[in-house]
Amino acid sequence: MVKGVNGSGKSTFLRLLTGLIHPPVKGLFWEGEELKRQNLLLYQQNLLYVGHKLCLHHDALLNDQLCLWQGLYNISKASLEYALQIWGVAAFKNKKISHLSQGQQKRLSLSRCSWLNRSLWILDEPHVGLDLEGKVTLDHILNHHQQKNGLVILATHDPVSTSKEIIL
């Protein structure tokens, strides 16, 4: 878990960890190996990044978004729909994404935690914009992931039960 006051560089740090930003001084290491061109791709295949920007197509219907995801990540439709049900947004399938509320969009974006099978999760303030019920769902899923030996790197201001804290 990454903590820090506003503007201390949490988001930048997380983006650095995803390899999207070129590290200015030293390289990025994962499991003892420095990440270069070749293994950076492998590493990125292993991580899930949900940032402040939600990676949703605003003009699309939710259904279209599902189709795009299906094509992009080779995911079966059933697992997608299952994930949407967990996050409670399955009912809005024929709505435009820009017509969904902020919280619903955030849920939709976070739903990739449930359908994308990756071991390292990098989440940038996932609690923001979620209601109480959503936060419970999120914590539940995070715990479940950790029990499966998954790794979560999380930037947040909310109290979460974790093992390690990095304070920026």
Binding site: T18, Y49, H52, K53, C55, G71
Partner: protein, 216 residues
């Protein structure tokens, strides 16, 4: 993959429609301004078509890119296992299909009104068809370079218009040769080569630009 990008681009049908309308309307406006003289129209229409095609791509492509950047979709491209250059290529393909084809058909349909003969129309359509992917690639490059700047629109024209010059001039040479009933094959081959080269250069430069555009 191109199908995915087509589907993606289709979401922006409003912008595409507006762009096409812009193309058609300005073509009519300029020809009204030039007067009904057939000789002048015949001489100027190919150039007009090309300039308008350049402008429409230069202004619409970056608009779409900016939209994607705001949603964070460019991160998604970079986190894919595929090289970003391929994604950019498929974007170009999608744009050629959804914007380029209608544009060419438009031009082809209306060129008889501008006193172009059949062979001239055909040449115009062919040169546009070949040049469009390169234009779209240059537009993407410009859009990515100006993504994090203040006031991108005019800047793109300043950056990219000089680079589109070869395509434009070579097509006009083709048109002129056809009009004078000369052999138009050599400029046509040259045009193909230049278009291919420009596409390759700007796609590879674009994939670099993409990398540091998301670092913001």
């Amino acid at each position: 993959m191109i199908r995915r990008e087509v589907r993606h681009l289709y979401l922006h049908k409003g912008t595409l429609f507006a762009t096409l309308t812009f193309f058609a309307l300005s073509l009519f406006c300029v020809s009204l301004a030039l007067g009904p003289e057939e000789k002048i129209l015949r001489l100027t229409t190919p150039a007009l078509c090309w300039i308008l095609a350049i402008l429409t791509t230069l202004f619409s492509t970056p608009l779409l890119l900016k939209d994607e950047a705001q949603q964070g979709l460019l991160d998604e491209i970079l986190l894919q296992p595929l090289l970003p250059a391929f994604t950019l290529l498929s974007k170009i393909g999608a744009e050629s299909l959804l914007l380029g084809f209608p544009l060419i058909i438009f031009g082809g349909l209306f060129s008889p009104f501008f006193a172009l003969s059949f062979s001239e129309t055909l040449t115009l359509a062919l040169t546009l068809l070949i040049g469009f992917p390169a234009l779209s690639a240059l537009g993407i490059l410009g859009g990515l370079l100006t993504l994090n700047t203040r006031g991108g629109g005019i800047l793109i024209a300043l950056l990219i218009l000089p680079l589109t010059l070869p395509l434009f001039l070579l097509s006009l040479i083709c048109m002129e040769k056809v009009r004078l009933d000369l052999d138009s094959l050599p400029p046509f081959c040259l045009l193909m080569g230049v278009a291919l080269l420009l596409t390759i250069i700007s796609v590879s430069a674009g994939s670099w630009a993409l990398r540091f555009a998301v670092e913001e």
